[in-house]
Symmetry: C2
Subunit: 296 residues, 2 copies
């Protein structure tokens, strides 16, 4: 299980997910943009806009290598001469406010001295929280995680709760999910098992998104729903630019801006001191996001 | 010239600017939101939405005090037990894409040991660069600055060029302006003179904005102009959340989120890898922003 095999299978995962999302959308197709990195490696960034379900979706693969930068040393707390990193990132911004934003990232990092680890996560950000859908989302993550270690889900769920949080708002980004980093053999699983866990999560992504949007008979969105969606997208922007470690690390270390900011919503709004009406669905969502929940 | 006098005159400046902007807009009025800070002090945040000229405007005054926090020590490189800070911040997001975004901040900071300094800046962010308007903007800043020191404008203009820059885009936020920080008596002027400079800049703000929007016979915005405005507003969001020191310091140190993020546009768009058409006005603006210019 060497780094090239991992990169190849991540690339295949990207293509698989794009195909599944095109099928789910039924209308729009992904456009692939291939790029190279001067210091070594490159990627394929696939984006879809104006779909029947997905207003904007990005599925990015990259495999990059080169000398360890000062920014990396600082962030990683690891020394080393050269690094290799590969992964797949996805963000879906649906058209309908009753459909959720969903994000995933799986990644592999290795240093010259063969130190390696996996990282990743999946999290769900509904514009309107539906507790039943949140429970089924978490159950799916738990089911896959439990196949590898029953310690994974509880630990990674809590990690996601801490990570996908906007301290300046006192709000969770959404209903959470799982998040993990620096996962290596010290957890008791070997490299191949850890990698397969990441692939399983990746393959779960389109399945779970399908579950999230199915079985809902939706009317055309109202102006109130669209306004709320735009405000929640504003929160998504705030999280990504102010708190998301991957985004900040990428931007400040001179990463490829367009691929990093692929996560931005197609549009977002801000209103001063906006508070939804007492008892409204918007207010219920906000209350939900201001607390921590157990789902499984 | 003690801190209370400075705060009172900044508050009066805020009210003066709000009145001038209401007159300029001719339609919408500011709403004032008064808040207190648990650790000491508070502020008045005035916002206007849905005007004839201004889609969203914020004019904020604050005067806060309390123990110096760890975050402050780190950012300021100063030790001290207690601080006092007061200032006025403004951001205008106009409705018409042919009108520019404009920002100003003037502030005063003092430590218990009587160490003090002034900071501030004014900068202009047109959605469409008009070089003549950029020149007249800079000439106004230079004229006021020269009354205090002929060293100010060249030094503070260059500081603004460095500061209002998006390294991840290789673009200036706009056509620059002036920026200064930690300005104290070591520059050869006394405290009262420095303060009067800040007040003069504040009073210049509505006058200059008026100059920017006058003498243009505008048609109703086209879809292309509105789309471009939304993308440029996206850049404004990126600058504020990724690079603006005041915003980041405020958010990460637990400042008042709504007052800090008053600078956000009412809405903003993101599109993957957007490049304007060769030879278009949008492309000319982008080329302009990718270079440094002298205006005076």
């Amino acid at each position: 299980m060497n780094k090239n095999t991992i990169a190849e299978r991540y690339r295949a995962l990207q293509l698989h997910i794009c195909a599944a999302l095109e099928k789910l959308d039924g209308q729009a197709k992904f456009t692939e943009d291939t790029w190279e990195r001067q210091e070594g490696g490159g990627g394929h960034t696939s984006t879809l806009v104006g779909g029947a379900v997905l207003e904007k979706a990005g599925v990015a693969f990259s495999a990059v290598h080169g000398p360890v930068t000062d920014a990396m040393k600082k962030q990683l707390g690891h020394e080393g001469e050269a690094f290799f990193a590969t992964g797949v990132s996805i963000v879906l911004h649906p058209k309908h406010p009753r459909h959720p934003i969903m994000h995933m990232n799986v990644r592999y990092f290795e240093l010259e001295d063969q130190t390696y680890w996996f990282g990743g996560g999946i999290d769900l950000t509904p514009h309107y929280v539906n507790p039943d859908k949140a429970i089924s989302f978490h159950q799916s993550l738990k089911a896959v995680s439990d196949r590898y270690s029953t310690e994974f889900y509880p630990k990674f769920k809590e990690w996601a709760d801490r990570y996908f949080f906007l301290p300046h708002r006192g709000e969770s980004r959404g209903v959470g999910g799982i998040f993990f980093d620096q996962l290596d053999e010290s957890c008791g699983l070997n490299k191949e098992q850890l990698f397969t866990y990441c692939i399983d999560l990746g393959e779960l992504f389109p399945v779970v998104y399908n579950q999230q949007i199915e079985g809902q008979r939706l009317n055309a969105p109202t102006k109130a729903e669209q306004d709320w969606q735009a405000l929640r997208r504003g929160r998504y922007v705030e999280f990504n630019l102010l708190h998301d470690r991957g985004t900040k690390f990428g931007i400040y270390s001179g990463g490829r801006t367009e691929s990093i900011l692929m996560s931005m919503p197609p549009m977002a709004n801000w209103a001063y001191n906006h508070e939804p009406e007492e008892g409204s669905e918007e207010q219920k969502t906000l209350s939900f996001l201001r607390a921590i929940h157990d789902f499984c």
